[in-house]
Subunit: 447 residues, 2 copies
Amino acid sequence: MKAEIITIGDEILRGEIVDSNKALLAERLRRLDIECHYQSSVRDDRRDMRDAFRRAVERSDVVLVSGGLGPTRDDITSEVLAETFGRELLLDAASLESIRVFFQRIGREMSQANRKQACFPSGAEVLPNPAGTAPGFALQEAGTLVFCMPGVPRELGQMMDEQVLPRLEVACEKALAASTAGREAAGKPVVRARLLRTFGMGESSLEEELADIARDGDVELGFRTTFPDNYLRVVARAASASEADNAIERVVKRIHDRLGPLVYGEENESMAQVVGRLLAECGKTIALAESCTGGLVAQKITDVPGSSSYFLGGVVAYANSAKVRLIGVPESLLAEHGAVSEPVVRAMAEGVRERFRADLGLSVSGISGPDGGTPEKPLGLVFLALARGEATHVDHFVFPIERSRHRTLAAQVALDWVRRSLLGLELTGPSLLRQRGGGPSPGAPRS
Amino acid sequence: MKAEIITIGDEILRGEIVDSNKALLAERLRRLDIECHYQSSVRDDRRDMRDAFRRAVERSDVVLVSGGLGPTRDDITSEVLAETFGRELLLDAASLESIRVFFQRIGREMSQANRKQACFPSGAEVLPNPAGTAPGFALQEAGTLVFCMPGVPRELGQMMDEQVLPRLEVACEKALAASTAGREAAGKPVVRARLLRTFGMGESSLEEELADIARDGDVELGFRTTFPDNYLRVVARAASASEADNAIERVVKRIHDRLGPLVYGEENESMAQVVGRLLAECGKTIALAESCTGGLVAQKITDVPGSSSYFLGGVVAYANSAKVRLIGVPESLLAEHGAVSEPVVRAMAEGVRERFRADLGLSVSGISGPDGGTPEKPLGLVFLALARGEATHVDHFVFPIERSRHRTLAAQVALDWVRRSLLGLELTGPSLLRQRGGGPSPGAPRS
């Protein structure tokens, strides 16, 4: 089964938005083992849309379309699709009624413009949209399955999950059979994959480090950077599913042996989720004192549902006076060493641990820029401390990168320290960016 | 000039990443008034790439390619491009040397794999990449300009700005002349656009509210939702640039008159930037007490460079004990009313204002979910308070939306309160989501 995704909208082509819908749909297709061969985006333009629809039906078995189903004048997906394949555009009374009910429910009147949202190409099957006014639809054209869905990501996701995937599953039953059990029977290779998340080593070092493993028979290793992480994708092709799974297991074990704690998680589990899981498992609590990261670490931790069971709170101590009054950093320390220093960051971690009565106190203080560097304390300098009761670990790094990346990287190192601490590992920083005891190195790699 | 963008990489087609490069490139093209007609993505696959290159050169005047220039085996852009257009692949000694120097600078040895990054199709002009190892290149094929750039967003952005845009500007001189001064002379319309950012009214209400303005002669109004904001794009076509500018000015004024403070900013200025600018202008400082937003408001405020001049700090008081110890909320209030209540959120704002000695104290406490709702305090309930010395304003809302959207919306209302307060306006919440005094309304619109 060859799939293709088409998203529609002037705002995409103008670069006004980053279109995340294509990734959303492609990821869902992968769950059914359907490979997406093409993704394209066209403007709200009749000719461009018609060309895209025609080409897609010619070359693909499944076409997912998103956008252009709204009530406004430039929403012309249904109309153009009907036109392209010589179908009539018909009003669906049931859909019109649901749209009317939707507006009633939110206490407003349906406008005339919404009528067109109840019109579909003849032969199409309407896909309900409980989250919005725009229903979607499915139709079959020259053997190709075409699904049209709204462009609002939340509505799209729900319709894809509840309406399209089940239909695809049924329609692809044969193809699916061929791709797993069927492939086995037919002697075609079965494909399995696993994603490993690493933090602390640059992409090319990683690639060199794993060069021999990358060439392990039928297992392929893919590398991908999502700052500040590097992901490894292990893909295995084998005659049977169990063989493929075994091959992946074997390679994953070799990677773990080689990289050790650099691998922090798998698949969709973020660093903050790993940290949260470990804190919950150990029954430990944490409190934060953030300066340069300005609440970013707290935000990442509290992004995880259930974080209130281990996260007691934090202080964003931007001003020095806040460090003194809220966390109890002695004024003399600030006067003598400055806010970005070993003694102050230590006092911050210990102070916040004590005030929140937490098991762990974590602090970050640095110079994220764009201004504020001096010859002794260069732009990019950052101190971290983790107070654990028995002892407080403190270290510093220089990350010569721009402000928002600096904050992101510092926050990730901080979270990684908590992870390492809970696993009884040494607390380190990203190897390539570590610049002990000194000035900025303009030549340091930036990713 | 018709432009087209092609991004290359299996990870895009698999939906493992949201490809922001297309938006990056399209936005840059718009700066030169070059319209992007097509965006597509293909896998690291020879045939798919060849088809995409051929079609692009046939239908477009400018083709921007991103990705596939790395050192690994699946990076085949240069090779396939050479093949597609019958060119040889030649080693460029100067590029090889710069790659060698790049590795030297970061204290590592160049690997053999990097050699291929110095190979380009014959006739290509090499585009240097100061931020990474992969140089790009430009070539002309059948009258079409093709630019190949790396897929790493930072490297891509820099190469686009420093290498491609200047070349495009020269190459497009004629087309550009035709599009502005030239268009005037030739009697063709000149196009001008402006983006207005609004917060507090749903997209369809906004559209109804502005229905008459949307049909104002040669001015077109576009609507776009980027949760929790709604953007208005005012596009004017006129015989001369000054006429177009005047038309935009006239319509923007009408929109401001109609919507009042719902319009909070223009173009790229975020709500946090607007708030920061106003705080700096008024010479006021702010401190935060966050519960359900968990540091998100602090993170947004400190994302703005220079925020240390007005942001003193904040407390993320997740645990009740933190509210008592760090902000001085009386235990009796928490016991009597609970953490999500009018008296507690008021005490949080006033407490944090006093402890940080700030002009403004802002607090948020709510139930973002996924658990924690009761019949009296439903999931989605959120209280906000803004302490301003003379008085503290408190209000509450119910946003029946999922956790991360709840946090995002609550944070935006909080920031909007600060903006409104500094402008002497009434403090309100998003009109459609306001649910005074009560239970959740499952039918409330969700965007």
